[in-house]
Point group: C2
Chain length 334, copies 2
């Protein structure tokens, strides 16, 4: 995976960093959003950001060089405080090195406000919050796309592969297409404003690495044609603001049939969502979270409630989230 | 392949035929355009129409029921005059049966104005010309999309498979996505107005059936992901009028590496086209025709001339065509 900034083709031009060379503040508090990757028919190339959940980073400038992590909350002790092993500090260090400011000292507090291993881009949200924090402190007013290669370094460490379908939407907000990885080519897609997203995280364990390993390496051309007809339909529907077309196109004949086996009662959950007004239903990232698109907030709320009830009946706890697509991406909250 | 009209989802609503029940004229002369299917990264799902070449049908009402074909020109005797074996008469008969007017008698003249077996949708152009002719005679003012199932019957007969990536753009004009075959779901895509198309048909034989047979049935998931990133990029570029993105996205890692073997000096032709200002270059349909997108007419003309010269050097004759994308589809010319 290349992290050469020069290779990013985007609808935002790449801009070299011309910061003031100094820090603009002593500390900053940043939120970055959860993301839904794959989006049913866009395995490894599509993702979008939601308004909640998300992670928060508090970053403070220190007198001595180097990055420390003084506190992590909400992770049940699962994430490393060692800055050489934490995706947030590792990506921030890559950023500082790239702008020739490895002399800067930082302390990081990471507040996990979303479940780990949920398929909602948990590591991406943390990494993007950290990168947006240092960008803000450095007075780096370039398009956030310039942070993408550093965020991908974090993903490589967290998941064993430098994919961008969570970090790119977390960083840019909205709906994002990773047209190509080599060279990296990212396209921001529009979406209907009235598209709501209902997310349910069933509290079962589906590690990303294993979820990737069960995907078949060899597939049928016929199925691939079905899949790329659908992704072309989904992208058309996004541009045309055609929610019916979006719904018709969100079918996955390749990945979902395999990954759904790791998710409790996946097809029953789909039936519940679709019979209660969902436009589409599928796995978020590698699961176990699932999501539905709806045309309004109330339908999204009803669906999350019914899915949660169903999971409770299976003695499985769950978290639910309802939001529109988050066009802002990360933001400073203090 | 379903030919149930009820199953067509399109951005034009399906409309039942409510014709006057009578014929509006004694005869009609129709042109229907050649088409470029696949469009590099959209194997089996994308196609667009060009302004030239194309085929013509003259249709005359007879006193006695049944369809006859009195004349075919430009086919070097390769096409059957037997109405039970000709794709034009077969699709027109399907249409007449569907509207309960099998009593109508017709005579057809087919004028092939384009090479057969060129990869330019030769049979589709003829079929669509025939269907548009009977539609016109019947005073059937519904959206031409309603003719698609009959045109696909013709394709099934001509090519052994009822694909729509030539007939749909020939019928509708413009750039067309076949999102799904079962059920049939066709999406009209926009395109930049200043996109020019240079087409070169090298006069060598590449039968469609054999060109399909050499395509691999099993492919790598990794290559499929590359392909659907590209088709999503191409569709985005069409909506965004972003010719650079269109060009970057038009790469085919799956079909072209195999089919290019059947085309004389394919990679040299690509090099000539790209070094002379083409936005993209690829195989039209199953070949042997190739096409390039350009930003203006002169570049398209220069490229066809240079490719023709190169083929002449290989002692291969060729036909060349330069046009914008044809948004009109079939038209009455007399």
């Amino acid at each position: 995976m290349s992290n050469d900034l020069q290779e990013i083709n985007t609808n935002s031009a790449f801009t070299p960093f011309r910061g003031m060379g100094g820090l603009t503040a002593d500390s900053v508090h940043v939120f970055a959003p959860a993301t839904v990757a794959n989006v049913v028919c866009g395995f490894d190339v599509l993702g979008f950001a939601v308004n909640e959940p998300g992670d928060e980073v508090v970053m403070r400038v220190k007198d001595t060089p180097g990055i420390t992590i003084s506190k992590i909350t909400g992770d049940d002790g699962r994430l490393p405080l060692d800055p050489a092993k934490n995706t947030v500090s590792v990506s921030v260090q890559h950023y500082l090195n790239s702008i020739g400011r490895a002399d800067i000292g930082l302390d990081i507090e990471l507040h996990k406000k979303m479940p780990i291993g949920s398929g909602l881009g948990s590591s991406s949200a943390s990494t993007v919050a950290g990168l947006y924090a240092i960008k803000t402190l450095m007075g780096d007013d370039r398009d956030p796309i310039n942070l993408l290669p550093f965020a991908m370094k974090g993903e490589e460490m967290a998941c064993g592969h430098g994919h961008a379908d969570n970090v790119a939407p977390a960083l840019l907000g909205g709906f994002v297409l990773i047209r190509s990885y080599e060279p990296l080519d990212v396209v921001r897609l529009p979406h209907p404003k009235d598209l709501w997203c209902a997310v349910v995280f069933p509290d079962v364990d589906v590690p990303t690495r294993e979820a990737r390993q069960i995907i078949r390496n060899k597939i049928n051309m016929k199925d691939a044609v079905t899949q790329w007809g659908n992704i072309a339909g989904l992208v058309s529907g996004l541009f045309m603001q055609d929610i019916d077309l979006i719904g018709r196109s969100m079918k996955d004949v390749l990945v979902e049939p395999v990954r759904s086996m790791l998710i409790p009662d996946f097809y029953k959950m789909r039936e519940i969502a679709m019979s209660n007004g969902a436009v589409s239903f599928g796995i978020s990232g590698s699961g176990p979270s699932v999501f539905a698109f709806t045309r309004d907030e109330q339908t999204a709320k009803d669906i999350t409630q019914k899915l949660q009830q169903h999971l409770t009946g299976l003695k499985i706890g769950s978290n639910t989230y309802v939001s529109t697509i988050n066009d802002a991406g990360p933001r400073v909250i203090g």
